[in-house]
């Protein structure tokens, strides 16, 4: 009896050994090819690091090794979207979807669907349920957690989003993308120092990547560290010369500082490269915003006309048209245009979400405020700007400064330099190197008889303007203010 039991155990052991050695390679996520999986992992990291071409190369090699590698096809679908190739994206997604149906493991299927749904609209019930399922099965799955955090970020649930990223870091302290997102979250809270810390860690963890430097440059520019931001953008472009985000950001940085020609030159230099991609539209939107900010209305009008021609189906097209008409004092047409824009926008599925609705409200208030300003009804403009500010409380300071400034200008025009001064100060607390708010501060201070404060503001703006283009309207404003400050013989 005992002998037979022992023999049975020995036979079992032999079978186990045979299975161990003959059982074939270990199955990874939707593939049995270890090499293909390594390429997939590399491609996934490269995609997260915005190294799209490298990611594309890695993933295509992966599917070359294993044509039925569903996860790789899903990522290729995402990449194709990045490249603006919707057809290819759909084709890869369909392929991945069909392969997913053949996966024996439900969890694998779910994770694969998550990859496919990563770029779907927020609130996708399928995606959310998939996320819940995967995280219930594998609470420490970094891919699922990242997807969850991404969803939370997109839906504006910053605190929850931050918690998830911290959870990710507790699992993998060197998870670079988490630091990237934590950096943006900190910047969103207005904690730019913390944002810089996170992003420096991100840059440290992902050496050779452009995106960390680009993110860092963005945050630095938001807080007015223009020189450092310029260095970071340069570093990003060193790391990845075709990293167009940094090129756009660098151009915007120059535009922000009033170096219009330089900014334009950079942006125009990459236009060809971005032709047909979403980034080209973003480039033009940046130009319009910057022209408007620096009161280069002619340039703004031209840019808006150009925008409408190039992107007639773009979301902001009708809005720009309304603004353009308003600036041309074609009030009725402008009102009709904005009404049409809003009506169209409200028909979108996204209107179900507060963020979207807030964005539409902002645009409407912005339009109304501008009209009021042009009408000389500064009090109404103040109210409209206030409504904008109220509806954008969840947005970070570097996105709201423009509203504050415009409201400050309205205050000043309405003969209320006190609130104007306060608005200027609030803006400068975040970024002490913004030209227009500094000038607003100086002007308000002068109105209030605070010559010393005005002098200090002008002293700060002087080196900024020294680098800016001479044609910038702010130059004249500065000179006028200097003249006002200069003691007259009678004094």
């Amino acid at each position: 009896m005992k002998r037979s039991v022992l023999m049975g155990l020995a036979a079992l052991a032999l079978v186990a050994l045979a299975l161990l050695f003959l059982g074939g390679p270990k199955r990874e996520f939707t593939t049995r090819s270890g090499e293909a999986y390594k390429l997939f992992e590399r491609g996934y990291s490269q995609l997260n690091a915005f190294q799209f071409s490298q990611a594309d190369s890695s993933l295509r090699r992966a599917v070359a090794l294993d044509g039925e590698f569903a996860a790789a096809h899903a990522l290729l679908s995402q990449l194709s979207l990045r490249f603006g190739d919707q057809a290819d994206s759909d084709r890869e997604a369909a392929l991945a979807d069909s392969l997913a149906a053949r996966l024996p493991n439900a969890l694998e299927r779910a994770k694969l669907q998550l990859l496919l749904l990563a770029y779907r609209k927020p609130g996708d019930q399928v995606r959310d349920s998939l996320l819940d399922y995967v995280l219930a099965e594998q609470p420490t799955d970094l891919m699922a957690l990242s997807a969850k955090a991404s969803v939370l970020y997109q839906t504006g649930k910053w605190d929850d989003c931050q918690r998830i990223y911290e959870q990710i870091l507790a699992i993998e302290p060197n998870h670079a993308p988490a630091y990237n997102m934590l950096g943006y979250l900190a910047a969103g809270r207005g904690d730019y120092e913390q944002a810089v810390t996170h992003l420096r860690k991100y840059a440290f963890l992902a050496p050779g990547l452009a995106n960390p430097h680009d993110s860092l440059g963005e945050v630095l520019s938001w807080k007015g560290d223009y020189a450092d931001a310029e260095r970071e953008f340069a570093a990003a472009l060193d790391a990845q010369p075709d990293f167009h985000y940094s090129q756009i950001n660098l151009g915007e940085l120059y535009l922000e500082q009033g170096m219009i020609a330089k900014g334009e030159k950079i942006l125009e230099s990459i236009r060809a490269a971005l032709a047909g991609l979403p980034q080209e539209r973003e480039l033009d939107e940046t130009l319009i915003r910057m022209y408007y900010t620096h009161e280069l209305y002619d340039e703004a009008l031209r840019a808006m006309e150009s925008y409408q021609r190039k992107y007639p189906d773009a979301f902001l097209c009708d809005f720009y048209r309304a603004i353009q008409l308003a600036m041309q004092d074609r009030r009725e047409e402008a009102n009709a245009a904005i009404a049409g824009f809003l009506a169209e926008a409200r028909r979108s599925d996204a209107f179900a979400f507060k963020n979207y609705r807030d964005q539409l409200d902002n645009l409407e208030h912005q339009f109304r405020a501008m009209l009021a300003t042009r009408d000389g009804d500064h009090e109404k403009a103040i109210d409209e700007w206030q409504l904008m500010l109220d509806s954008s409380l969840s947005r970070p300071a570097h996105e709201r400064w423009w509203f504050l400034w415009r409201q400050g200008e309205s205050y000043l025009a309405a003969g209320r330099p006190g609130p104007a001064l306060e608005n200027a100060k609030r803006i400068l607390e975040t970024n002490p190197a913004r030209i227009r708010p500094l000038l607003l501060l100086a002007r308000s201070a002068l109105e209030l008889g605070q010559a010393e404060l005005a002098g200090q503001a002008l002293a700060k703006v002087q080196p900024l303007l020294a680098r800016a283009d001479a044609k910038l309207p702010a130059q004249q404003t500065y000179r006028d203010l200097i003249a006002q400050l200069a003691p007259t013989p009678a004094d």
Partner: protein, 882 residues
Amino acid sequence: MATEESNFQFSAAPRGGAVGHWAHLLGALATFGLCLFSAMDAGKIRPNDGTVWLLGRSTVTVLEVPPRADGGINLLQPGDEIIGIGTTLVASPQEAAQLLGRQQVGSLVPYLIMRDGKVLRVPVRLSAFRTADRFYPYYGFLSLAYWLIGLMIYLRGRESQAARLFFRMCLLFAVFFMTDLNRSSYFWGDIITRNAGALARFLLPALFLHFFLVFPDKKIIVTRRPWLEPLLYVLPLVFYLQFTMDQFFGSHAPRIYNTRWLVLGTFFSAGAVALLHSYYQFRDPLQRRRIRILTVGTLAGILPFLIFTVLPGDRVGDTLAFIGTVPMIAVPLSFSYCIARYRVMQIEVLLKRSLVYSLLTGGLFLLYLGFVLGLGALLLRLSSQTSQVATVAATLAAAASLWPARVHLQGQLDRRFFRSRGNLAGALQEFGLEIPQIIQQDALIGRIGGRLCQLVDLPRLAVYRPGPAGEEWLLAGVVAHPAADGPRAGPDGCDECPATLRLAATALRLAQFNEPYWVERSQVRLDVRAAATREQAELLQRLQERDALAGLGIALLVPMLVRGRLVGLFALPPKHGGDDYQLQDLELLTLVAGQMALQIENSRLYEEELKKQKLEEQLALARSIQSRLLPERLPEVRGLELAACNLNSAEVSGDYYDLIVRDDGQLVVIISDVSGKGIPASLLASSLQASLRAHCAISDSPGEILDRVNLYLYASTDPTHFATLFLAFVDPVRRRLRYSSGGHNAPILRRADGTLLQLDKGGLPLGAFDFGSYEEETIDFGPGDMLFLYTDGLTETVDHADEEFGTARVERLLSEHHGIGAGDLLDIMNAELRAFSGREQADDDVTLLVLKALHTAAGNPTDAVAYAQRGLPPLTRAENES
């Protein structure tokens, strides 16, 4: 600083027993492992960023940025918090160390740091870091030497506190040499070795001092204040704890500060002073010589170490530290030498003298060869010659010039190991031939002692032997220098030599160490109340005995030991003219004392053998006499049943019985116990028998007969010799018994009806006094009555519980065994006696005699049964039927 004794050893029992022993062995193993690990760790080249980190926290904080060895600039600053290395964030110093270990030496590695609240990226050029410098192999050799000698000493002398301390000290030295405190590369191995190194550096000086406070002699101050020993370690342990706290939780790099080095240096210095003090305290040249090499070696090693390595602290350069450490090899070497040669710490080494000699001779030859080649090369260089002839010539010239030096050194070595001491060797040969031929102790002391006095120039030599009391030593003989008018030999003592000495603790010492004991009046006055421990009590007693001996003018005691047993001792006064005893004197005295001890022991054994033979002869003679006193056959008396036996003990005593049939038909019954043993007792019994037989023939009054015999015995013998005796006249016809007792155990008459009657009428023992009368009594001795007579050997026999057999037990047996025959009664008594005593042989002679009056017609001869056992074994029944 007074010393306790001068025997290089301490009798403290090993503490902790087996557990302590295993702990020590485990410590040795751990130390070896640590040293090995440290060597491997120190020899490994690893990337290093040139900073010192704060350990024990979750963050990696730069404590110090020492100047780089390559002269490069380190962009890291003290206070920087290292967040990441390479491309990885770090959460702890250990993690950072692991990351750093994966980098390449010489590479430029990006560091992510937090400085003043800002995150910065700083490139850091990693340099090669290796703890071991070019001197490390020597340190390794030194460490191994210390470890080996320490372990050897512990294994061979672990009962000694000094050996245990030395062992621990060696372990710490081993760790000391193998570890380095200069810089940490924050790998966990470095952390361990650095911490262990710190422990060694802090504890070692205290242990060094502790060791030399108990070695070669335990200082009085330590014995009187035992709490001083643990107190020595308090400060070093505090230092160590501070160091460890700094290492893990401090705000600066842990180091041994100057003040601490100074304290540690003071400990070392105090240890060296204690050693020097011990050396100069010794008046005994043998002991001083034993410690001389050791002292010189230790000081030669420790002083440069102290000056160049310890006192400058961590400011000292590697080269200077090495120079200070090189001579440290002298410490284990000198200890090894002293152990091999002098059994320091009572450690026997297996290393044979010849092997040591061979090694040293070989070493000397190699040294000579080295010098020859070196000098030859120097000559060639100076002369700028390159030819082979010149080379050979130069070498030969160097060899020739150095030859006398080599011969001289070899001679020194030879003398050291195979010293030819003319007089000593001759004397030893003389003693070696003479001593075995002298059997008698007195002659031995007289002749050999006299010769020793001449050779050593002693005024006298007294020999003491152990007395019957444990602490008392009796003068066995004293002999004076032949040229002096001093006392001659005599066991009664003289003015200078007391007849007895009281030595207890000192005798134990002599027996334990078998070497001369220098008697010197203690300069320390000890308070009796201070003897709180056994060790202190022994010390106190030794010092008191030493004072007493010094007061008696005794300067030196030389033990006479045979197989570890102290059979005597030489008590020697100071030499003529107050000269110190020389080493040769002590060696000669020790050797001769040993030979004499052996001879005295042989003599004692010989005398004992002679005595034994004599005793056996006497015993045989006494037995022969006694056997003739006892009747070969019991008489045949009608109407009486007789039975008797005599149970012999190992010694022949004076028991005796007799049965005489008078012409008138009465039976004279005699039982007697003569005092004393052996021949005198037998002779007295013989005389008593003759006298009684004579008187019984002419008188039938027992009292009268005893009266006469008493006077006769008193007049003819020493009063200390006497006899107890019971005499009875039994008339078998009239069934009457007339008796009188001379102090003998009262015989017991058991009547036919079972009642017992003790026949105790009489007087004093015979021969003791010339006065007194002997009462007699006449009683009926009817049919069935049984008279049981015995000597005190029966009732005084004791069992294992030391309880006597006693009269009550006899009476009980008589009562219980009613109606049996005389022979059966003897059988029962014998069996009971043997069962009671549990022995086959009685302690004293036992004589039993039984008379039973028969119912049958008087004079039936078949009723007589005699037991006349003589010799051993006594309980074999031999019937004598007629």
